[in-house]
């Protein structure tokens, strides 16, 4: 598998399948909805450049790919390297991945590996110097070997399967310290207090911006739509950190103005949806788009392509390397609500709290066919939500567009039932 199908007289990128896939989606996102925020133009343009024109991702220093939110990017920045999140949402790469992966495996992993396999992938991964692969779910764990087989440098970031115990915490802290060593070898630079502190300052600023955006989504009726929010957080995967932060801050100011102006991006009656489960990753925004095309609005989410990736912040008591690195380690383990961990009561509590804070009418639970952990947690989540009288729609799907019609039926039915529910209230 060292020669790839796309290498054979590959068409100019912008004519390629994945480019068209992205293009159609972006058209839908931009044109099907009347009042997109001005500040979103930056993101639309960014995605068009990167996904449709195939513009390579800008980066200083070595480029380090990460395959999960557990990779502490502050460390990577501190070593003067640039992290890029490799998780991929393209059906096209999903198909390529299917060539050498079991058909029943998770489309996200398939697409990710597929994109790594197809060298001309987006975001441009040809220049990867190292892939940090946290051992989260089985499929990602097993991916390490495959990625190595493709000729990539891979570092297994060992993540404990449980996060409650103190042992797990220490184990993880060790793993993170080991990553720091590996990065030192890779970059030949030294980790200093100043570097790390600056790196952490940058991400903290980005997170602060995200949190503001997050809080703005509490306003009802919604100030802007979930598809845009997902686009913003998806840009975080590969965009330049500071540029991204500035763009988000611009968006925030605009949304604040909208708030003061009493602007409504959705009707009063529009069901407010909390999105959870498998992450919508560009260009696979199928489900959020269907929801909002059907008149719902995604006001909050609990997915690793948005909230889970950016929400929780690092606290440091003493600004010494030891404390900072351990602090980072904690931030990437303790609050994480990923279902791979043995217990999921944190996730349940988080969902309930989000539902309460954003006065959510219903929850849409996306599970990628082949992502067992989400499929298995679905019941427990359904139960606690039912106990709170919050309706939930469980959707098992993948990247293929063929079930769109069927999905739209279900989503519309779901939204209709919510509407009647609200009317009867």
């Amino acid at each position: 598998m060292n020669t790839t199908p796309t290498e054979a007289k590959a068409p100019p990128y912008n004519r390629s399948r994945q480019a068209r896939e992205a293009e159609t989606l972006l058209d839908r996102i931009e044109d099907d909805f009347p009042d997109n925020p001005e500040a979103m133009r930056y993101f639309y343009a960014l995605f068009r450049r990167v996904y449709c024109q195939g513009e390579p991702v800008k980066h200083q220093g070595t480029l380090v790919g990460t395959t999960c939110i557990h990779a502490p990017e502050e460390l990577i920045y501190a070593f003067g390297a640039t992290p890029v999140r490799l998780c991929n949402g393209s059906y096209h790469y999903d198909q390529i991945g299917a060539d050498f992966m079991p058909a029943k495996s998770c489309p996200l992993v398939k697409a990710t590996l597929g994109s790594l396999h197809a060298k001309a992938a987006v975001p441009n991964t040809a220049a990867l110097d190292l892939i940090v692969n946290p051992t989260t779910c089985d499929q990602k764990t097993k991916a390490s070997a495959m990625m190595e087989a493709m000729g990539y440098q891979v570092h297994d970031l060992e993540l404990p399967p449980a996060k409650e115990s103190e042992e797990a915490r220490l184990y993880w802290q060790r793993a993170v310290r080991r990553l720091a060593l590996r990065l030192r070898e890779l970059t030949g630079r030294k980790l200093t207090r100043k570097n790390l502190r600056q790196a952490m300052a940058r991400t903290a600023r980005a997170q602060a911006a995200f949190r503001t955006l997050h809080q703005l989504r509490k306003t009802a009726p919604a100030l802007f739509l979930g598809k845009d929010a997902f686009l913003v957080t998806n840009a975080y995967f590969f965009d330049d950190l500071d540029r991204w932060t500035n763009a988000v801050e611009k968006l925030n100011t605009e949304l604040l103005q909208r708030q003061q102006a009493g602007f409504q991006a959705a009707q009063k009656r529009a069901p407010r949806i909390l999105f959870t489960g498998s992450p919508p990753i560009f260009p696979n925004l199928k489900l959020p788009l269907l929801i909002e095309e059907a008149g719902g609005v995604v006001v909050a989410d609990e997915t690793c392509s948005a909230n889970r990736m950016l929400y929780d912040m690092t606290a440091v008591d003493e600004w010494l390397l030891n404390d900072m690195v351990d602090g980072l380690a904690d931030r990437y383990l303790k609050p994480c609500t990923c279902p791979i961990f043995t217990r999921n009561d944190d996730r349940q509590r988080r969902l309930l709290q989000l539902a309460a804070d954003f006065n959510v009418d219903g929850v849409v639970y996306q599970a990628f066919a082949g992502c067992q952990v989400y499929e298995m947690e679905y019941r427990s989540i359904a139960d606690i939500l039912a106990a709170q009288g919050i309706p939930m729609l469980y959707v098992e799907t993948d990247y293929s567009p063929d079930d769109m019609g069927q999905l739209s039926t279900r989503i519309e039915a779901f939204l209709e039932s919510i509407k009647t529910r609200k009317r009867n209230k």
């Binding site: 066919a369 063929d402 069927q406 279900r410 519309e412 209709e416 529910r421």
Partner: protein, 265 residues
Amino acid sequence: MSYFAGIDIGSTAIKAAVVDQAGQLIGTRIAPTGSSFHRNAMETFEALLAQHGIIRDEVKFIIATGYGRKLFKEADDSISEITANAIGASEAGRVFGGVRTIINIGGQDSKAIQIDANGNVNNFAMNDKCAAGTGRFLDVAARNLEIDLEELGDYHFGGDGAPLTINSTCAVFAESEIIGLLANGHGKEEIVAGIHYSIARRTVRLAKRVGIEDRVYFDGGPALNKGLVAALQDELGRELVIPEQPQTTTAFGAAVLARSQYLSE
């Protein structure tokens, strides 16, 4: 006199229904979807009106439902077949004393819906993009066994001995399995029964996901199949409520909704 219509554009058949001001069902009509279903839908609709001597203008409000609903531009509004089905069922179910659970087996999907007393959807489940356990599955089987869809019911009871178990849930694999069984000299009767039971099992599993409450209303084309009904009742362990025109429940529901929407505006 003003009327209200509902048009259900399904994957295999187009169903149209008309109700009068009182919400009484005037009539229904069914036609195959075919390739250009927009034209067929229009024709079916007009044929229905003609049949009952209703002028187009008398139809005040039309609601489309089913997969084709978005593309049926003549409709004043569209609604998902699940909601429509729920309304239709709860309306039609009144004569049976009200229903709370609906099982619908359509051309390419099967649904289980749980509704409250007013016909609002509480919860529903749907097969995940796979024709297994749907009407299409029956078509395939019938074709392999070289019998008409309508005859399947009679075959179901014709057999002596236990029904075979059809293991493969996928319509495509089932095809080859059936051929294999025929080759092994099994009677069509037991095979048909087997098929019915395999569908029934899947459907019941679906129904259990939404929770089964008192009367279970069974509609959709396959509801005409006595054998399947028997199998389902077996698996469910309770009586099923079946309307005399199972296919048109959804269209009827759409029509009822059209009426109420029109009156509320």
